[in-house]
């Protein structure tokens, strides 16, 4: 209770700003209008009347989907960095944690690049701006992933994730996807513990969201690894343990070999049973991924119903990203004239 009283001292402005941004998220009527567009020019016109305003006004013709993607990402990066700049502790640490996920992606990209002797200078512009860290510029000195680790990564905030799971030797050998998944597992568990330590409403809201993320990852890794060379034990090492599935669900998942098995495991947890029931693997059904997206959106929306916690910042970023994906999806359908599945975006409001 006491936190609610003093929350606004440090974080009131940030929360207000965040809620302001959140009210600019596109509604279903906006999506309706966007879906009716015939060309990307129409799309641009419709976006002008929303919160996006004239963000595309300086683009030369012809407008392409890649340009729209870049501008959308720029906007969200700008908003997030502004929030980060005006934030105090512990909100700033919280926001930093959110950026670690993007850092992981960037580092995986750089490792892949060094593995194949690409010039690091080429890769730097392709990194996600939210995931940049100071040592990013110093990466040019390293030639192999092991060197990269000893020279650069040890000083980043991600170093503890490396230490827990991957040795230098592994960096060179393992498939980059496995590295990515291992890092993400460590990150997720770390973030979960941090949120728990914050306590209060933040802990309630964020732990719920992160537990779902962990379980979703476990399900997806299982499903996607069925026809590949990934063994069950290797797979088990990638399951994050901060979700509802830990520990028995994860054991079960480790032993399954087909989609039906995964469904059986999910049926023991009521919230996931519902999701799997509404999906299927036939074309035309909603896939389980779509259902996961929808559930995530719902959890993020619910975060805004409570006040005086940090979860709204995380939720806002995720919702904005989903909105970006929706807009790009609609834009691609329009530009490729493939309108059959244009309604497959995930509605937010």
């Amino acid at each position: 209770m006491k936190e609610d009283l003093v929350f606004n001292l440090d974080h009131g402005y940030a929360e207000g700003l965040c809620r302001g941004f959140r009210s600019g998220i596109l509604k279903s009527t906006d999506y309706h209008n966007l879906v009716q567009c015939e060309t990307l020019e129409d799309l641009r016109l419709h976006l002008q009347s929303t919160d996006y305003g004239n963000f595309l006004s300086n683009e030369s013709n012809p407008l392409t989907v890649n340009v729209i993607d870049d501008r959308l990402r720029e906007k969200i990066v700008q908003e997030f960095q502004h929030l980060r700049n005006i934030s105090y502790e512990p909100l700033s640490t919280f926001l930093d944690y959110i950026t670690y996920a993007y850092m992981i992606d960037n580092i995986v990209l750089l490792i892949t690049g060094t593995l194949h002797q690409r010039a690091i200078g080429d890769l730097l512009p392709r990194c996600h701006p939210l995931g940049s860290f100071e040592q990013l510029g110093a990466i040019t000195v390293a030639d192999t992933p092991a060197q990269l680790y000893t020279a650069v990564l040890v000083d980043t905030p991600l170093a503890p994730y490396f230490i827990d799971c991957i040795s230098e030797h592994d960096l060179d050998e393992l498939n980059v996807e496995i590295i990515r998944s291992t890092l993400y597992k460590a990150y997720l568990e770390d973030f979960y513990n941090f949120c728990k330590s914050l306590g209060g409403v933040t802990a309630e809201v964020m732990c719920e969201i992160l537990a779902f993320e962990a379980d979703r990852r476990a399900f997806m890794i299982t499903i996607n690894s069925f026809d590949t060379g990934l063994t069950q034990d290797d797979r088990a090492k990638l399951y994050p343990t901060c979700g509802h599935l830990h520990p028995d669900g994860l054991q079960e998942l480790r032993r399954t070999d087909n989609y039906e098995g995964v469904r059986d495991v999910a049926s023991r947890y009521p919230q996931y049973k519902v999701l799997f029931d509404g999906s299927g693997t036939n074309t035309g059904d909603k896939t389980i991924e779509d259902r996961f997206f929808e559930h995530e959106v719902k959890l993020n929306m619910n975060a805004f119903l409570r006040q005086f916690h940090f979860g709204i910042f995380y939720a806002y970023l995720k919702l904005k990203e989903q909105e970006n994906r929706n807009i790009i999806w609609i834009a691609e359908c329009i530009s490729q004239k493939h309108r059959a599945r244009i309604d497959n975006y995930i509605p937010i409001f």
């Binding site: 996600h128 980059v176 997806m220 996607n224 790009i328 493939h338 599945r341």
Partner: protein
């Protein structure tokens, strides 16, 4: 016949035989080339039809493939394309060329084979894996289509060229070589005829002259007989074989 030329030969029977042989050869060659041109034309038309079908299919396949790329981008938040581009080492699908023979024309045909395993098996492990598998399948299909189209198009170009050359040759033989030979043969025949006529005329003239000469001689003889210089019997030369009694020369 001054405008159109013929071969410069000396008109003789031998030349005529030789020319007739050449005519036969030219006609046989003409028939063979025509058959070759027809076979090539049939193959050409079938390739054209296949190209049209493949190109239509290509349009659809590429459309599906680009759309599945959009789908994959939707479910894989984050830019997976960069990681994929950076980790490309060598080509997974390679092409071998084989040769096809159509009526003597060598046409290349491309056949694809998979070299090495799928290095991107685990991409999209965290999310979007199913869309990625579909994407890979769609683009593999697109590549197969492209390879087929490549084979068809190279064959098309090569065949087009060869058909043009063959037709040119057929027409050349038909409209230039054979008429030239025919004209030459006609010329020889006409020359031979003329020579024969000349011979004949010469012969006739000589006969006439001989007759005249004999008639003149006869006349002179008749005159001389009349003049009593000659008797009528000198016409006959003495015949040794006759049994006329020769008086013996006795040297007493």
């Amino acid at each position: 016949m001054s405008g159109k030329d013929r071969y410069n030969v000396f008109p003789s029977r031998m030349a005529q035989t030789i020319m007739k042989g050449r005519l036969k050869g030219a006609q046989t060659g003409h028939n063979l080339l025509k058959k070759k041109a027809d076979a090539l034309a049939i193959r050409f038309r079938s390739i054209l039809k296949k190209i049209i079908d493949t190109k239509m299919l290509m349009g659809d396949v590429m459309k599906t493939a680009s759309f599945s790329l959009a789908e994959a981008k939707f479910s894989m938040s984050g830019d997976f394309t960069q990681v994929v581009i950076q980790s490309v080492t060598k080509a997974q699908i390679k092409i071998r060329t084989k040769r096809d023979n159509v009526a003597g024309v060598v046409l290349p045909s491309f056949e694809s084979f998979n070299d090495g395993g799928d290095t991107f098996e685990l991409t999209g492990l965290g999310r979007g894996g199913m869309q990625l598998q579909r994407l890979k399948r769609n683009y593999a299909e697109a590549i197969k289509n492209l390879i087929e189209l490549a084979t068809l198009q190279t064959s098309f170009l090569i065949l087009d060229d060869v058909i043009k050359v063959t037709n040119r040759r057929v027409n050349a033989i038909e409209h230039v070589i054979i008429p030239k030979i025919t004209r030459t043969i006609n010329y020889i025949v006409s020359e031979l005829d003329e020579m024969e006529r000349e011979e004949f005329y010469r012969l006739k003239k000589v006969q006439e002259k001989k007759k005249q000469a004999r008639a003149l001689q006869e006349q002179k003889r008749v005159e001389m007989v009349k003049n009593g210089v000659l008797t009528g019997t000198e016409e006959e030369a003495p015949n040794i074989l006759d049994e006329e009694h020769d008086e013996d020369n006795l040297f007493l």
